[in-house]
């Protein structure tokens, strides 16, 4: 077993080191923006910002000033503070929902790809059924009936992301399950649980984690769309999507109220896509070489 573990370890460690130089400046810029957004979201309460919910009816749609760095919105709330607190919502939902998809989809995909047979047909079939529903409608219906909360929103978006993760994990497991180290483990009598957890999981995890980054981008957009329609996070909590939705009402007089959160969302989604895509390019050749 020791030799097997050793080979896997080398495999994982050697490849990124060899290809690291290929990550261009764009990758690091995107990575930097990701870190920045995470940091700002984490420190939102500590930063010297005005309250994101305090209204000031005399200062409605105020222009950019020393007091309000990005001006104020239609209810006189500080735009920058709302932007920063909105980053929290986008990231909390954007990261937690794909975690649900990663956990359940990843597990289902591994089980389907490893055990094959009827179970696989059943899992793939159920995912096809789930994919048949218009996702936004499903999310809208469930949040409308269960109530608008960040928790409900995260859960439903997480469930909707399960099929995609299932496909990635099943595809990776299918190719891996035929490899020598799995056959060797079976030959020495390792249990199914051991093969799945010790042999397959570390290898399937890599493509899944890369796909996770792309999943975050998709979920941030989905959360934005729901909040934009007014069915995402409940007011007065600010989310980039709801800010764009509110800004849309005053497009003639104060277009910046829609454009600031739009730019923030675009840059964040683009960053996750860029980083995810760059890392996928790193892991793909390895998969091809298997």
């Amino acid at each position: 077993m020791a030799t097997l573990d050793l080979t896997i370890g080398e495999d994982v460690a050697a490849v990124p080191a060899r290809r690291k130089r290929r990550l261009g400046r764009l990758f690091w810029a995107a990575f930097g923006w990701m870190i920045f957004v995470f940091a700002v979201a984490l420190l939102a309460d500590v930063l010297p910002l005005p309250s994101p919910t305090d209204m000031d009816m005399l200062e409605r749609r105020a222009p950019i000033s020393a007091e309000h760095w990005l001006g104020t919105d239609g209810l006189g709330r500080d735009e920058l503070a709302r932007l920063v607190h909105g980053a929290r919502i986008s990231l909390v939902v954007g990261v937690c929902a794909p975690v649900i998809g990663l956990t359940f989809g990843g597990a289902l995909g591994m089980l389907a790809g490893y055990f094959r047979g009827r179970f696989e047909t059943f899992v793939v079939g159920s995912m096809d059924v789930l994919l048949a529903f218009p996702p936004l409608i499903l999310a809208l219906a469930v949040t409308a009936y269960l109530g608008q909360s960040i928790f409900n929103l995260t859960c439903i978006l997480g469930v909707l992301s399960i099929p995609a993760f299932m496909r990635v994990s099943r595809a990776a497991t299918l190719t891996l399950a035929r490899r020598e180290f799995v056959i060797a483990a079976q030959a020495i009598g390792a249990s199914h649980a051991r093969i799945l957890l010790r042999e397959l999981l570390p290898n399937v995890m890599l493509p899944l984690l890369v796909f996770f980054l792309l999943g975050v981008a998709v979920i941030i957009v989905a959360e934005g769309a729901l909040s934009f329609l007014g069915l995402g996070v409940p007011p007065p909590i600010s989310s980039w999507g709801s800010m764009i939705g509110e800004g849309r009402e005053s497009l003639e007089v104060a277009p910046q109220l829609a454009f600031f959160p739009a730019i923030a969302m675009f840059l964040t989604v683009l960053s996750f896509n860029l980083v995810g895509d760059a890392l996928r390019a790193l892991t793909d050749p390895r998969q091809g070489a298997l």
Binding site: I137, L138, A141, V142, Y145, V221, L251, N273
Partner: protein, 316 residues
């Protein structure tokens, strides 16, 4: 070929059945008693009980599902208790709007994506190719509600060229109808063309490395002729698939775009059914949309098998 069709059909049936079961379960398990929704909060318990009995709501869920399915198989999807319209009437009214939007959007998406893909593949790796590839990648990060806002700001608020929202039926005023559709269709097309371009470009580049293309070059055919006559058709297989999937996806109506531009399509119907808790409309329309998506995927599979003999002879 027949065996292939039969196998796919055999898979289609249980999927459709499961889709109907899931639709019914979601609609039934959501909190809120249909009888209370109809009668209002002031209703006496006796009245609610009587209505529940009339509608069969006091039956076990499996019986209710089978009853619902039985009606649907006879073409009866139910009737809204709010508007009195049947599900089929409501869908028939809204579907032309969604279809027009879908066709225009796909058309515009192909109009932008296909020429760009050809131009990129003709000089793969060149400056234009690299620029367009990065632009397409960037465009994939723009959500539809963002491009919708930008287009409204540019063409409706700043330039006053086009109306921001609204709708007139095609039969009343064809020009006015098209004016209302330009921005929503363009919004969707902006989201579609990067995918179209990426897929066609990479398939074209693969095709251009084939031996028969080298032969065509050796024969002295012009690059233009090789690109358009010899390479384009065999490279459009994946394009057929994604166009089909896009159409299947848009059958459900472009919820966001229809809402922003106030187009009375299927997407808006679903959103308003959710808002008014119109369960009958909701479950009927969701079932139709989901079934439409499944059947569209089936059609794409078939089309793909017709275009590429390897699929129908290989493992399906």
């Amino acid at each position: 070929m027949l065996g292939f069709v039969a196998r796919r059909l055999l898979y289609l049936l249980p999927v459709l059945l499961a889709v109907s079961l899931l639709t019914f379960l979601i609609a039934s398990l959501l909190p809120g008693d249909l009888a209370y929704v109809i009668l209002g909060d002031q209703a006496t318990p006796e009245k609610v009980e009587a209505l529940r009995h009339d509608m069969g709501l006091d039956q076990p869920i499996l019986i209710r599902y089978l009853g619902w399915l039985g009606h649907i198989l006879q073409g009866d999807f139910g009737r809204s208790f709010r508007t009195g319209q049947t599900v089929l009437q409501a869908v028939g009214e809204r579907l032309p709007v969604s279809l027009e939007l879908m066709i225009l959007a796909e058309f515009l998406g192909l109009l932008i994506g296909v020429p760009l893909a050809i131009a990129c593949a003709a000089k793969a790796g060149g400056a234009f190719d690299r620029f367009m590839t990065s632009t397409a990648f960037g465009m994939l990060s723009v959500p539809t509600f963002l491009s919708a806002i930008l287009l409204i700001y540019l063409f409706a608020v700043e330039l006053h060229w086009l109306p921001a929202t609204g709708y007139v039926p095609l039969s009343e005023d064809p020009i006015g109808n098209l004016r209302f559709f330009v921005l929503p269709a363009l919004t969707l097309a902006l989201a579609e063309w990067p995918g179209i371009m990426r897929v066609l470009r990479s398939d074209l580049i693969t095709t251009l490395q084939e031996d028969y293309i080298a032969l065509a070059r050796a024969k002295g055919l012009t690059p233009r002729r090789i690109l358009f006559v010899h390479a384009l058709k065999p490279s459009s297989l994946t394009l057929v698939t994604i166009t089909g999937i896009n159409i299947g996806r848009l059958i459900g109506g472009a919820v966001i775009v229809e809402t922003i531009f106030a187009l009375p399509g299927i997407g808006r119907l679903l959103v308003s059914a959710i808002g008014t808790r119109d369960l009958i409309i909701l479950q009927g329309v969701v079932l139709l949309v989901a079934a439409g998506f499944v059947i569209m995927n089936f059609v794409v599979d078939m089309l793909y098998a017709v275009l590429d003999p390897r699929i129908r002879h290989g493992h399906a």
